[in-house]
Amino acid sequence: MSMFTEGAPIADTRAPDGPIETRWQQRRFSGKLVNPANRRRLNIIVVGTGLAGASAAATLGELGYNVKSFCYQDSPRRAHSIAAQGGINAAKNYRNDGDSIQRLFYDTVKGGDFRSRESNVYRLAEISVEIIDQCVAQGVPFAREYGGLLDTRSFGGAQVSRTFYARGQTGQQLLLGAYQALERQIRAGTVRMYPRTEMLDLVVVDGRARGVVVRNLVTGEVSTHLADAVVLATGGYGNVFYLSTNAKGCNATAIWRAHRRGAYFANPCFTQIHPTCIPVSGNYQSKLTLMSESLRNDGRVWVPVKPGDTRPPDQIPEAERDYYLERMYPSFGNLVPRDIASRAAKRVCDEGRGVGPGGLGVYLDFADAIARLGREAVAAKYGNLFEMYERITGEDPYKVPMRIYPAVHYTMGGLWVDYDLQSTIPGLYVIGEANFSDHGANRLGASALMQGLADGYFILPNTISDYLAAGPFPSIDPDHPEVKQTEQEVRDRIERLLSVNGDRTVDSFHRELGRLMWDYCGMSRNDAGLRKAIDQIRALREEYWQRVKVPGSGEGLNQALERAGRVADFFELAELMCIDALHRTESCGGHFREESQTPEGEALRDDENFSYVAAWEFTGVGRPPVLHKEALEFSYVKPTQRSYK
């Protein structure tokens, strides 16, 4: 049986024609509006309260819609956007260093290795400017200079200084701004908040998204909420790998359930693996922690020349060290982009030259920087990161080189959306990391926060009115057969998970799945490995439903049951990721196919055959999905091969 079949290409993305700088303006003018008096009769469900979800719910509430907002955490303020460290890009050109909307657009398309949609990326760059204004007005305490103006810094993939930041906690401060705006609307009565509530399915009636089935995580009650439109802002799916920099609760259930109901899933194999994370220390490890990539400005990456060299780092003489990034990429050295640095680390560890327990680590050494700048100067730049490292590892990076290793960090893939951020199910909108839209095959640093807020504050609230202008849609009886059936399916699934009563824990399966994905669909992928992974995922999925042990009942708080449902969905998504990676025989961005590389071992794109978005249609568990191609056209940025030699 073939792995997949091919269906009709996607003909229309609803992006306006004409000069790229006028398209967003055109779209806003051509979209229908809803008059203020009618808005309160329209119900919108927003799932997820990260940057995209909280900003969307708050803004829709301000506009006067009737909004219900859901999150699985105990408070909307805890969504994982809170953990973003670095910053947020915006084309303000406050530095007068040659930045512009055009340049941010160009950097983002190029950084994404020419696998994103030009119209969307241009709009993102345009809106970036408004985001900073909005956040400052809300009281986000961005870093400032002595004159009182906003400070910026540089990030990877750019030659200008356009990254706004709030120390190492930019995500936290932006999220608190959106959360406070959301709380203000909750108080005003336009938004009703449902914390500790998890979406378990999407209700589709007469071809439109009309609601969600949720489980109250405290009481265990399963119920349906109906609406005129549903917005998913539920984040990425990096936790399919078990170990990632995501929060423990991050999951793909909302988008996967929507996919099963008809929403196409785009580019699922595009995952970003961040090169500088603290390595795994034991098999009890529950998550991985990122160390900001700014460390590579002064730290030197090396491993021993000889495989299996277990001497402590200070006993390895200079001549027996391999500063492999400096050797392989003399012009960029330790500052090559994320995908390149990650692959190089994997390569030296595969050669048996990795350091630390298990040999999965490389040194990031500050000895030269300390000798050159002094300990104090290094502490002023990186002190908080050094402390964090010491807290986790118990080692002092001023004395012993840090050990780092790549880890899964972000997923560029997600539900397919058109220019309006609407999925292939009418009335279902997808925003933030949950959609696939703007980052192509590789996201640049400080662009995730920009996209989440662009979608939530500015794009969705404008585009959704065009859809809602046709509403309110016919009211749905809670006893409607579609509603009853969806709710029953959710209950049956919970019952099924509880009734297996096997002899393996959910986490033991999740770990095994994660290991498979990391080995075969991680930093480096090949045909044989991916086929093997697909077979093993299917077998493990079978075993899951025979042997998983979920204690307790569906009534009341049951954290093992919550995890069991999420892992069941990861099993299905994992298979699609591997099929997508298998079908895309080119390398691009974070997707490296060993069969497609330059003689020097770099990623080799195949624009002739793969300049498209792969949007997958669900046909059943274990059944071949249908591939729909959205052709990518580049009229403003000419695709070129990236080089960092």
Binding site: E130, V136, G139, P141, A247, K248, G394, D507
Partner: protein, 248 residues
């Protein structure tokens, strides 16, 4: 190392709770405190027992979800460290560790170590924001903010809303939490128009939620994993007094 845990177990909000003793063996010093509990939970599940419920999410000290009273101290023995960032190397072989939920009238226990902190959200909803509807913002550089104010505002804004301040306070007061937000927004020019209504409304919400009054014992700031300074409470008191005077 081998440890003895005494863990608060309470099946539901209405049920009675008690401390249950567990022996855990082969604990690695590199484990985080929560990973040590994960390992115990895996064992409990396979033995057919209910695992210990506890809140957690990011496990990097920023989301504020985790929090337990460890040997009588919120977030345990390490200064400025959330429970998820506490590692077992700070304990010794043979230790007995007592683990309890946050104790406060305003934070009712949901199950085991999980408590309901939604009162914090309602304090924010009462006024912990600057009214700036989307689209209404002026150009970001039109109002410069002195660096010292921006830095002090940031320091207060670093609060993660974990509730350790409440758990540490002998009065069960959430004044440090409330004051952190009043300080953050009150130091910025954008926060001035609502400065005095904000403090009055937030304090009223704080009291209505059943948090106790502040008597300046300072336990809150000592327990805070993010180092929110006690001075924020002085600032709140000053703003509150001024707000009261303005009303008359």
């Amino acid at each position: 190392m081998n440890l003895t845990l005494r863990v608060w177990r309470q099946p539901s909000a209405s049920a009675e709770g008690r401390l249950v003793t567990y022996e855990v063996t082969d604990v690695s010093p590199d484990m985080s405190f929560l990973e040590m509990l994960d390992v115990l939970n895996e064992r409990l599940i396979l033995a057919g027992e209910e695992p210990i419920a506890f809140d957690h999410d990011c496990r990097e000290g920023i989301c504020g979800a985790c929090g337990m009273v460890i040997n009588g101290v919120p977030h345990g023995p390490q200064k400025a460290t959330t429970t998820c960032q506490l590692h077992m190397r700070h304990f010794s072989d043979g230790d007995t560790i007592t683990i309890e939920p946050w104790r406060s009238q305003a934070f009712p226990v949901i199950k085991d170590l999980v408590v309901d902190r939604s009162a914090f959200d309602r304090i924010i909803a009462a006024g912990g924001y600057i009214s700036a509807p989307t689209g209404s913002a002026p150009e970001a550089h039109s109002i410069p903010v002195p660096k010292a104010n921006a830095d002090a505002a940031f320091e207060a804004a670093a609060c993660i809303g974990c509730g350790a301040c409440v758990a540490a306070c002998p009065n069960g007061s959430a004044m440090l939490f409330t004051a952190a937000k009043v300080t953050h927004l009150g130091l910025l020019p954008q926060g001035q128009p609502e400065r005095y209504t904000r403090v009055v409304d937030m304090v009223a919400a704080h009291d209505a939620e059943g948090f106790g009054g502040c008597t300046n014992t300072g336990e809150c700031a000592a327990a805070c994993p993010k180092g929110i300074p006690l001075e924020t409470i002085s600032r709140l008191n000053r703003d509150y007094l001024q707000a009261t005077l303005r009303r008359h």
